[in-house]
C-alpha cells in the first residue's frame, strides 16, 4: 500500500513530514461563568499536512490539476491507516529546485517539493 494516494495519484512524502492536525468541529465547548464546561461540539473532521519529496514538474502539475478548485478527492494510504477519506487538498507552497542552467542565462526547474494540507470533507 502506498504511503499516500490522492485522487488515485501516488504522492511520495518526505520522511517525517506527514502529521495529523487538530480536527475541526462544528459548534463549541465553552466554560460558563462558574467554570462548568458546556459541551457543544460534533461533526469531527480530520486534517493532515505533509510535504512531498522533490517530484517532477509533470507529476506536480498532475496533482495540482486533480485538486484544483477545491475538488473533493479520495485520499488513502498507509498514512491514513488504510482508510479512505473524501478530502479537499490544498497545495500550500512549493519549493523549486532550480537545477540546471538553461544556457540562456536562466535555469530549468526540474523538481518541486509540494507542501500539502488535506482536510476531510
Amino acid at each position: 500500500m502506498a504511503f499516500l494516494t490522492i485522487a488515485g495519484l501516488t504522492v511520495p512524502i518526505q520522511a517525517g513530514s506527514f502529521s495529523e492536525k487538530t480536527p475541526a468541529y462544528r459548534g463549541e465547548s465553552v466554560r460558563a461563568f462558574d467554570h462548568t464546561l458546556l459541551s457543544g461540539q460534533d461533526g469531527r473532521k480530520r486534517q493532515w499536512a505533509g510535504t512531498t519529496v522533490p517530484i517532477a514538474p509533470a507529476d506536480a502539475e498532475a496533482l495540482r490539476d486533480a485538486v484544483k478548485n477545491g475538488a473533493h478527492v479520495a485520499c488513502t494510504g498507509a498514512a491514513l491507516r488504510g482508510l479512505t477519506y473524501t478530502c479537499e487538498v490544498t497545495i500550500e507552497s512549493a519549493a523549486f529546485d532550480l537545477g540546471i542552467p538553461d544556457g540562456a542565462g536562466g535555469w530549468t526547474s526540474h523538481s518541486e517539493a509540494l507542501t500539502l494540507t488535506l482536510v476531510e470533507v
Binding site: 459541551s39 457543544g40 507552497s93
Partner: protein, 849 residues
C-alpha cells in the same frame, strides 16, 4: 413573557450542552412562483457563514442585522450580477437569488451534539425584509443586511393627506391598523394589540409627508407612550408589529439563568447616573394655544416622593412641540407618568452573554443566579434588548441587555430630555456599535465617493463636510466637529466634491448610539481629508552608505501639503525573511551615518546588516494622512561589491540610471562608433544615480552602453567590477527605425501572480517584429534573460500584456522579488534596432499561484 418552551427545551438551554443549528430562508422565484429558499441547502451547498441580528427592543424599535454568505462555491455564485450562475436563474431566465426587499426568516435548532435537528426542533427566531446585498472585493463574501417587518413601514411615505378619527373618537389601535392598511394594502400587516391600560380615542389625526412608521409612533406616543415593535405571536406562529405596554409591576421572574448557564457578565453598574424622579413635561395646549406643564410628582408632593426621599431630587425636563402630537394635559400626563415609572428606580444594568437563547423576548423578567464574584444574591432584571450572534457553524451566542423592571422605553426618554447630564461619554469598538472606516469607493477628477457599513446597533449617523484654505491644520477639525448634522437612515455613501487648488475638504462621519442600559450617548468618529485634484504628495530625497557589515539608507521627506503621519522601515537580509515594519533606526536629532551631522526634521536613516554574498534590502513605508501608504524603495545593498544597475530608462534623449549601493560611478558611451571617431561620445559621473542627457542629433540613433562601476571615476580601470546595459537613444524625427514610446511594467494585484507590461511603438514597419524578455531576482541575484513573448509586430497603440510569474504577490509577505521586462524591436533581418526595459517589484509569501 418569553416565547412558549417545553421543559426539555429549557433544560437543554440551561445545560449549555448543545449544538446550535442555523437556517436562513430568503424569498426568491423558483418555477415561476415565490418560495422561501433555504441557504442551509441551496444547490447542495451550505452558504451561511455568519450572522448577527438584533430584534426590536425597548429602545431599538426596528430590529435589524446582517447575514454573511459564501459568494461562490465551484461554478455557483450568489453574486446577483453573475447571471450565468444557476442560482440566479429560474428555468433559464435571469432571476437573482438575492435582492433587496425580499422576505427573510431565521430559524434555529438546539440539539445534542451528534443529533441532527428534527422538524419540530426548528424555531423561527426572526422575520424581516432584506436591504441591499453587497458583494465587494475579488475575494469576499456576500453580505445581506436586513430589518424586521417594521422596515418597510419606515420606508413607505404617506404622500397624500389623510385624516383619521372622528368627532366621537376612534380607538387608537383601530386607527393604527387603518393607517397601515391604507398605505401597505389591506391584510398585508396584521397589528397586535398588547396593551392593557386605558384606551385612547382619536378625534382628529391628519397625516401627510411622514412615513407610516412615524404616524404609528405619533399615535403610540399620544396613547400614553406605548411601545411599538415586532414581537412573536405564538398563536399565529409569526412575528407581527405589536403595540405593547410592559408589565412594569411584574415581580415574578419568567425563568432563571444561573452562573452555570451564562458565560460572562460583560457590563454591570449601579446605574444611578440616569435615575430621574421629578419629571416635568411642557407642551402646547391645543385648546388654549398656551404652553403648559405637567409634573410628577407635583411640587407639593416632591418631599414625600419615595424615590426622592431615597435618592434625593433628580430633575428631568422635556418639551414636546405640537408636531409630536402631545397637545393635551391627558396625553402629557400619561407620557410623564410613563417616564417616571421607567426612570425613578436605579436599574442596575447588566450585559450577560449565554449560548443562544431563542425563547427570550424583551420584557422577560429573568433571575440571574448569584455568582460570588459580581453579586452574591440572585438578581432579577428585565430584558431591554437582545443580540444574537452566529460567528461560525454550530455556534450561537446571545448577548442580553437587562436592567430593573420591564420598561416602555429608556434611552428614548433620556434623548428627549433638555437638561440631562452625562451625555457624550465614550467611544465603543464593537463593530455592531459603529460604522466601518470610510472607504473611497470611487474617485473622479472632481469628486470622491466615500462609503461605509453601519453596525447593527448604530442608531444614527451624523456627518459634516467643510472646506478650508491650505495649509491644512488640525485645528480645522474643531470647526468640522461643531457642524455635524444627521444623515437619513440607512445612508452609507457620501459624495464629496474635490476642493479648489490650495484648499482642503475635511469630512467627518460619526456613528451614534445610546446604550439602552446606561443611557450613555456614544459616538465613533471617522475622518477623511479630500485634497484638490493635484494633491501635493511629499518629495523624497535619498542617499546611502555602507561598511563591510552594515548598509544604511538615508531618507529626507519634504511635505508639500499632505502630511506624513508615520514612517516605518523594513529590512531583508539576503534570503532571510523580511523583518517586521518598525520605526527607522535613526530619526530627528540622531547622528547621521550617511551625511554626518545631525538628522533634521523629516530625515531618517535605516541600517541593514549585510549578507556577504547576496543582496540585503531596505524599504521605507510612509503613511500619509490620507490613509494611503507610499512605498519608497526597496534599496539593494550588494556585498559582493559587484555593482548592479537597478534602473536604466530611456526617455527621449535622456537615460535615467540608478545603480545599487556598490555603484560608485556611472558612465554612458556610444558603442556604434569607435572611440577614436569624431562622433564618439561618452560621459562619466561619480555617484550611483544620474540622468544622462545624450547629445544625439535629430534624425539619428545611437547605440549607448550604460555602466555602473564599483570605483569612483578617477579610479576606474579595466579590472573594476562593473554592470552594463545597452540601450538605443533616438533623436527626434530620427530614422525610420521604430522606437518604444511606452514601456511600463506593473506588479500583480495582491494575492495574484500575473504581472503586466505595457508597450507602444511609434511605428511598425512591415517585417518588423518584437520580442520580450524577463529576468528577475528573488534574493539570490539576477537570473539571465528568458524570452516570454514574440510579437508579430510591435504594437502601435498602448497595449498591455500579462505574464504569469509564479511569484504570488502578498503585501503581507516577507520576501522581495524584482522583475525586469526588456522589450526589443527587430528589423526584417532579425537585427535588434530598439531596446528598452522597465522594472516592477513586489513582496511575495510562500505560496505559489
Amino acid at each position: 413573557m418569553p416565547r412558549a418552551f417545553t421543559t426539555a427545551e429549557f433544560d437543554r438551554w440551561t445545560s449549555g450542552k448543545f449544538v446550535t443549528h442555523l437556517d436562513v430562508l430568503i424569498e426568491r422565484v423558483s418555477g415561476g412562483v415565490t418560495v422561501m429558499q433555504s441557504y442551509r441547502d441551496f444547490g447542495g451547498v451550505i452558504w451561511i457563514r455568519s450572522a448577527r441580528l438584533t430584534p426590536a427592543s425597548v429602545d431599538t424599535i426596528i430590529g435589524s442585522g446582517s447575514l454573511t454568505l459564501h459568494r461562490q462555491v465551484g461554478d455557483q455564485s450568489l453574486a446577483p450580477l453573475i447571471k450565468a450562475s444557476s442560482l440566479n436563474q429560474d428555468g433559464g431566465v435571469y432571476a437573482p437569488a438575492l435582492d433587496f426587499g425580499r422576505e427573510i426568516e431565521f430559524r434555529v435548532a438546539l440539539t445534542e451534539p451528534g443529533v441532527d435537528p428534527a422538524a419540530s426542533d426548528w424555531k423561527v427566531l426572526f422575520q424581516g425584509v432584506t436591504d441591499d446585498p453587497e458583494w465587494p472585493n475579488k475575494v469576499g463574501p456576500v453580505t445581506v443586511p436586513f430589518r424586521d417587518r417594521a422596515g418597510p413601514l419606515s420606508d413607505t411615505y404617506i404622500r397624500s393627506k389623510r385624516t383619521y378619527g372622528s368627532e366621537a373618537g376612534v380607538d387608537a389601535f383601530t386607527v393604527m391598523q387603518q393607517i397601515v392598511d391604507d398605505a401597505m394594502g389591506a391584510g398585508q400587516y396584521v397589528l397586535d394589540d398588547r396593551t392593557s391600560g386605558a384606551r385612547f380615542n382619536v378625534t382628529d389625526f391628519p397625516v401627510e409627508g411622514i412615513s407610516v412608521w412615524e404616524a404609528l409612533e405619533k399615535l403610540a406616543l399620544q396613547w400614553g407612550g406605548k411601545r411599538l415593535g415586532q414581537e412573536w405571536n405564538e398563536t399565529a406562529g409569526e412575528f407581527r408589529i405589536a403595540v405593547n405596554e410592559p408589565d412594569r409591576n411584574k415581580s415574578l421572574a419568567d425563568y432563571t439563568a444561573g452562573p452555570n448557564t451564562y458565560l460572562e457578565i460583560h457590563q454591570i453598574s449601579t446605574g444611578g447616573k440616569n435615575l430621574r424622579n421629578i419629571i416635568r413635561g411642557t407642551y402646547l395646549n391645543s385648546s388654549t394655544s398656551k404652553k403648559e406643564s405637567v409634573q410628577i410628582p407635583a411640587e407639593a408632593d416632591v418631599d414625600t416622593d419615595p424615590s426622592v426621599q431615597k435618592y434625593g431630587p433628580r430633575f428631568f425636563g422635556l418639551t414636546e412641540d405640537a408636531s409630536k402630537g402631545i397637545d393635551t394635559a391627558t396625553e402629557m400626563t400619561a407620557m410623564v407618568q410613563a417616564i417616571y415609572d421607567d426612570l425613578s428606580v436605579p436599574i442596575i444594568p447588566q450585559e450577560p452573554e449565554t449560548k443562544l437563547c431563542w425563547f427570550a423576548q424583551v420584557d422577560d423578567l429573568v433571575t440571574w443566579g448569584a455568582n460570588a464574584l459580581l453579586y452574591d444574591e440572585a438578581q432579577d432584571a428585565a430584558v431591554l434588548g437582545l443580540t444574537h450572534d452566529f460567528p461560525e457553524p454550530g455556534v450561537g451566542r446571545t448577548r442580553w441587555r437587562v436592567a430593573g423592571k420591564p420598561k416602555g422605553a429608556y434611552r428614548s426618554w433620556l434623548q428627549r430630555a433638555v437638561d440631562i447630564a452625562g451625555l457624550n461619554a465614550i467611544a465603543l469598538d464593537d463593530a455592531s456599535y459603529t460604522i466601518s472606516e470610510l472607504d473611497v469607493t470611487s474617485e473622479t477628477d472632481t469628486q470622491v465617493t466615500l462609503g461605509w457599513a453601519i453596525g447593527a446597533a448604530v442608531d444614527e449617523v451624523w456627518y459634516a463636510v467643510r472646506t478650508f484654505a491650505m495649509p491644512y491644520t488640525r485645528d480645522y477639525w474643531a470647526d468640522v466637529k461643531a457642524n455635524v448634522t444627521p444623515l437619513a437612515d440607512g445612508v452609507t455613501t457620501l459624495v464629496v466634491a474635490k476642493p479648489a487648488e490650495d484648499h482642503v475638504t475635511l469630512v467627518q462621519v460619526e456613528a451614534r448610539r445610546i446604550d439602552p442600559a446606561s443611557g450613555e450617548l456614544t459616538a465613533r468618529v471617522w475622518r477623511k481629508i479630500v485634497y484638490a485634484k493635484d494633491a501635493q504628495a511629499p518629495v523624497i530625497e535619498l542617499d546611502d552608505s555602507e561598511t563591510a557589515t552594515i548598509g544604511t539608507q538615508w531618507l529626507r521627506i519634504q511635505e508639500r501639503g499632505i502630511a506624513v503621519t508615520k514612517v516605518e522601515a523594513q529590512t531583508q537580509i539576503g534570503t532571510q525573511a523580511a523583518g517586521a515594519k518598525a520605526a527607522p533606526t535613526r530619526g530627528l536629532g540622531a547622528a547621521s551615518t550617511v551625511r554626518g551631522g545631525t538628522l533634521a526634521t523629516g530625515e531618517y536613516e535605516q541600517d541593514v546588516t549585510l549578507d556577504q554574498t547576496r543582496f540585503s534590502w531596505i524599504t521605507f513605508f510612509l503613511t500619509l494622512e490620507t490613509g494611503e501608504m507610499q512605498v519608497v524603495g526597496p534599496f539593494g545593498f550588494d556585498r559582493n561589491k559587484e555593482p548592479d544597475l537597478l534602473q536604466v530608462e530611456v526617455s527621449g534623449k535622456k537615460i535615467k540610471t540608478l545603480a545599487d549601493s556598490d555603484g560608485k560611478s556611472l558612465k554612458a558611451y556610444r558603442t556604434d562608433v569607435a572611440s577614436t571617431d569624431a562622433a564618439y561620445w561618452e560621459k562619466s559621473v561619480d555617484g550611483k544615480s544620474y540622468t544622462f542627457d545624450v547629445p544625439v542629433p535629430d534624425a539619428e540613433r545611437w547605440a549607448v552602453r550604460v555602466c555602473a562601476y564599483s570605483d569612483p571615476v578617477a579610479n576606474v580601470t579595466s579590472s573594476t567590477p562593473q554592470d552594463c546595459e545597452d540601450v538605443t537613444v533616438a533623436g527626434p524625427t530620427a530614422s525610420t527605425e521604430p522606437v518604444w514610446t511606452v514601456i511600463d511594467a506593473a506588479p500583480p494585484a495582491n494575492l495574484d501572480d500575473i504581472m503586466s507590461y505595457t508597450l507602444q511603438a511609434d511605428s511598425a514597419p512591415t517585417g518588423y517584429t518584437a520580442e520580450v524578455y524577463e529576468r528577475h531576482d528573488t534574493g539570490s541575484g539576477m537570473t539571465g534573460y528568458t524570452k516570454i513573448a514574440s510579437l508579430a509586430a510591435p504594437p502601435t497603440t498602448e497595449t498591455t500584456y500579462t505574464y504569469d510569474t509564479n511569484w504570488l504577490r502578498n503585501d503581507s509577505g516577507s520576501k522581495l522579488v524584482q522583475y525586469e521586462i526588456k522589450a526589443e524591436i527587430l528589423n526584417g533581418s532579425g537585427v535588434v534596432v530598439e531596446t528598452q526595459s522597465a522594472q516592477a517589484s513586489w513582496y511575495h509569501g510562500t505560496t505559489l499561484g
